[in-house]
């Protein structure tokens, strides 16, 4: 009995000590981790809006561009990033986050559209758990670049904004090549991208927020 009590107490004290240490480390680094995530997000916003210079730039320069060119404002159920011209007098485009279920887990992406909300400027998928080399290829440039400059027509009922066609067969303005070997990822991406675009594009067209330029 005594031995059992000791075991329980021992485990309790040990767990207390170790979780306190882990908690302390977490508390000390939490501000830094938050900052890192913010920086990663800012880089994605700038890259879909095509505002990053082609050469590699430091964190500081990147943040300076972000502060100068981007106004973030709450819009509906998410944050919209408004890109303003260098002179600060007009809107150049919008970027907004999209997300939905992939094959293995949620996929998070960012879509940028032009100021008139008539065409796609860029798209990126930055967090996912799809199979590396197959579904994971949604992060690759060839896949993302297909969306660049695509016209945005609100589809008639029952139709979708974009269709992912078997690789090499995409021809229409609303078609892009899917990923060979990743049928499920492509199918789900097509579905959630459409759902998200249907939710936000009409709203964005109607209001065209300016972020007080």
């Amino acid at each position: 009995m005594k031995e059992r009590l000791f075991s329980v107490l021992y485990m309790f004290v040990l767990a207390l000590v170790f979780t306190s240490v882990v908690g302390a480390v977490n508390w000390v680094s939490r501000e830094r981790i938050r900052l890192n995530q913010e920086i990663a997000l800012q880089r994605i916003v700038l890259s879909v809006l095509d505002l990053l210079p082609p050469e590699a730039i430091s964190k500081k320069e990147m943040q300076a561009i972000f502060r100068r060119r981007i106004r973030s404002l709450p819009f509906g159920d998410r944050t919209v990033y408004v890109a303003v011209a260098p002179e600060g007098d007009r809107v150049e485009g919008y970027a907004f986050p999209v997300s939905g279920p992939g094959f293995w887990g949620p996929i998070y992406g960012m879509v940028a559209v032009d100021a008139q909300v008539q065409k796609i400027l860029g798209i990126a998928f930055y967090r996912h758990s799809e199979t590396p080399g197959l579904g994971g290829r949604i992060t690759e440039a060839w896949f993302r670049e297909q969306f660049r400059g695509k016209p945005l027509h609100v589809p008639s009922p029952g139709r979708r904004f974009f269709y992912l066609k078997p690789a090499g067969t995409a021809t229409g303005p609303d078609e892009v090549d899917a990923i060979t070997g990743a049928t499920e990822t492509s199918r789900r991406l097509e579905a959630f991208l459409d759902q998200e675009l249907k939710r936000i594009i009409p709203l964005l067209r109607q209001q065209r927020p300016t972020g007080n330029v």
Binding site: E3, F6, S7, Y10, M11, L14, A15, F18, T19, V21, V22, V25, N26, S29, R32, I33, N36, Q37, I39, A40, S129, P132, G133
Partner: protein, 205 residues
Amino acid sequence: MAADSAKSIFRKGVWGENPVFRQILGICSALAVTNLMANTFIMGVSLIFVTAMSNATVSALRRVTPARIRMMVQVLIIASYVMIVDIVLKAILPEISEALGPYVGLIITNCIIMGRCEGYARNNPVWPSFLDGIASGTGYALVLLIIAFFRELLGFGTVFGHPVMPSWWVPWTIMVMAPAGFFMLGLFIWVAYQFEKPEEKKVSR
């Protein structure tokens, strides 16, 4: 057993009882993170840290820990160190932390650490246990780095991200994917056995 010299601990951990190609432990992460040398290096350093610190802690507590709850205690200790590594990586090296994804967290389940805690640290003083952790971790990291060297070289044409292959080189995409991890590990074990001395072969088979 108590008087293992540092030299013999390292000889065993890195070669004689190398966790990856002798004991075939920790294969899951060996396959998953070895397509880029930078990621592999960080993974190796993390594992060395976790194994050494867990070994030292388990050893320091070996006289007071009740035998029947020792596994629980070991898991708690290992998990704490892994979480610390995970948090620190997120704070200092966010890109690599993102690339390693869930595999840092999965160090908890890496059999090498549990194996060393249970097989060595539980019966040995703190300092040799600490060294044993570093040795086993180094053995793991070295094998992974060698595999990653070939996978990155053939799959991307780079070494630690620096392009080294001539411009006409066509990267072997298969090398970046998981199956190549199996091929390389198998080849590595084969080559490693060829270097073995004949008398060692008799003992180990």
